[in-house]
């Protein structure tokens, strides 16, 4: 019995590592019937939490080091060799801090808010395909599930902002919600193009559709089509805003709002918020990888022997690195600029991109020589023209001049 279980565990681990199908099926038959659902759930959930918590720790370090290098500094290098133990020090500091609750706060809501934020964020990981055979939950409407749980985090942020009974918290929460609602629309619209072309809402199916290579070496990823490229840019911009990252970090703009909805949180609850923020960033990056960058597919033919989950995670880390790079470069936007960008630029562009994707889809039957070039040109003209016109409309028309005050002396 015990030997069977051990054998099953080893076989399961081997199947996971070597990218073979049905790793869970190796262990479950060795267990009693009643235990199977529980064990299978635990075995699905715990690696996600473990892997992404580790990735969170690594990312905080990578971010601080990378930002340092971008600003010609070294970054943290004191704890452990090259500072690699810095996340452990940060974590210890965070968890041993006093947990302060303001006297006038709404205690119950204040307590529930971090939980209500962390739970949907973790739920979003359920539908991502991490590897060829590593899909925790292959839902038919997986993409919808992802966006649904993503949307329910907004209420948690409101709870945090309102219950703290602090003006900065409330202002930060209002900003966060306005921003998240505004950017959810371009985010979903850019994902809809992929759904339209792939003909499915299931992430695993979408990745499977990006299989194969054009001309034998260009991967058949959606980012390498005109609509996919623009869609990926829109998706990345909107996901920056969704995960409250710079340059869209207005909700916690330190220079004006202390820390936004996090102002009154400390210790473990703050750590939970921090964790949820990073986990949300990973989840949405993972979705971007799944939708546009071919998920776990290898970038070149002949690289299939590398386990597929390694490709997924290297693409994920690449996305995270781009996020850090953007954070190190672009200054924070103003609120009106933020909303104008969402409603006057990204939304029309996403709609035009949707049309372009439709044209791309319907011209796929063209067979004459040069058809691909013509399709590319057509799409480029459509999207490029819209980009230039919308970009012109977005940039301020007024000349900057000295301000005159009519009523003040």
């Amino acid at each position: 019995m015990i030997a069977d279980v051990l054998n099953g565990i080893l076989l399961m681990l081997w199947r996971v590592v070597s990218d073979q199908p049905a790793p869970l099926a190796a262990l479950l038959p060795a267990l009693p019937e009643a235990l199977r659902p529980v064990v299978s759930a635990v075995l699905c959930v715990s690696p996600i939490i473990g892997v992404f918590a580790t990735l969170f720790a690594l990312t905080t370090l990578m971010e601080r080091k990378g930002l340092g290098r971008i600003q010609n500094r070294l970054g943290p290098n004191r704890v452990g060799p090259f500072g690699i133990l810095q996340p452990a020090a940060d974590g210890l500091k965070m968890l041993t801090k006093e947990d302060i609750i303001p006297r006038s706060a709404d205690k119950l809501v204040h307590f529930l808010a971090p939980v209500a934020l962390a739970v949907p964020t973790l739920l979003a990981y359920a539908v991502l395909p991490y590897g060829r055979n590593l899909v925790p939950l292959d839902l038919d409407a997986g993409l919808l599930f992802f966006f649904a749980v993503g949307a329910s985090t907004e209420l948690a942020i409101f709870m945090a902002g309102w219950s703290s009974h602090n003006k900065y918290s409330l202002l930060g929460a209002m900003r966060a919600i306005a921003q998240m609602i505004s950017y959810e629309i371009p985010l979903i619209l850019s994902a809809v193009t992929v759904v339209m072309i792939a003909g499915s809402l299931s992430p695993a199916h979408i990745v499977a559709r990006q299989d194969g290579f054009i001309w034998g070496w260009v991967p058949h990823w959606y980012v390498l089509t005109p609509w996919g490229f623009v869609g990926f840019l829109i998706f990345t911009t909107a996901s920056l805003a969704e995960s409250n990252r710079s340059p869209f970090d207005l909700p916690e703009a330190e220079s004006e709002l202390i820390a936004g909805h996090l102002t009154e949180y400390s210790g473990f609850k703050y750590a939970l918020f921090f964790l949820a923020e990073y986990l949300g960033m990973f989840a949405i990056s993972g979705l971007g990888v799944t939708l546009f960058l071919g998920g776990w597919q290898a970038p070149l033919p002949g690289l299939d022997w590398v386990p597929s989950y390694l490709w997924f995670f290297s693409k994920l880390i690449l996305m995270v690195f781009i996020f850090i790079w953007i954070r190190g470069t672009v200054p924070r936007l103003r609120v009106d600029q933020l909303l104008n960008l969402a409603w006057k630029f990204l939304l029309p562009l996403a709609l035009i991109n949707l049309f372009t994707a439709a044209i791309w889809h319907f011209t796929a039957v063209w067979q004459f020589p040069g058809a691909l070039l013509l399709r590319w040109l057509l799409s480029a003209v459509m999207i490029g023209g819209a980009y230039v016109v919308l970009g012109r409309a977005l940039s301020p028309r007024k000349k900057v001049s000295l301000r005159t005050y009519r009523y003040a002396t």
Binding site: V109, D140, A141, L144, A148, S152, L155, M159, E184
Partner: protein, 181 residues
Amino acid sequence: MQIPFAIIAALTIVAGIAAMSLRKLVHCALCLALVFAGLAAMYLQLGAQFVGFAQILVYIGAVAILVVFAILLTNSSSSLLPTVRSRSWVFGLVVAVLVFATLVKVILASSTVAGRSLPENPLPTVKDLGTQMMTYYILPLEVMGLLLTAATIGAVIIAMQEKKPVEPLKPGSAGAPPTHP
């Protein structure tokens, strides 16, 4: 099958009662969001994935936020309300009973309760739903779309500031934008 249903139902009902009877408006709104979540869980339990996720996306992600924003912007979030007892509670009771009776009648008339067999494909895929919506139910879909567009345009018109020639402010005239009911 029965225990999860019992848990979800109890949660939904308790949250619903709380949403009606709590004294802080924001608490009521949060409880309402909990009710929405309970309903979504019930849809999911019945195997209606698309409806369940759409319920979460629309109701928790948008409607609850809208309610909360409305409460905040009308500036009554901090004040404790006295326990509400409507004067027209008899009328409300009549409406509630009528709605309940209609629902009971519909539920009793449904195939499951009447003992008839379930439809052949109890778990339609999203693709099936989409196909149905774009073919058989195209007219209702378009009418709903038109209605929502009209509502959006109306909201924009109400919110839009009317352009007036700029005049210097006179004492006495507040220069307030035109108010709309």
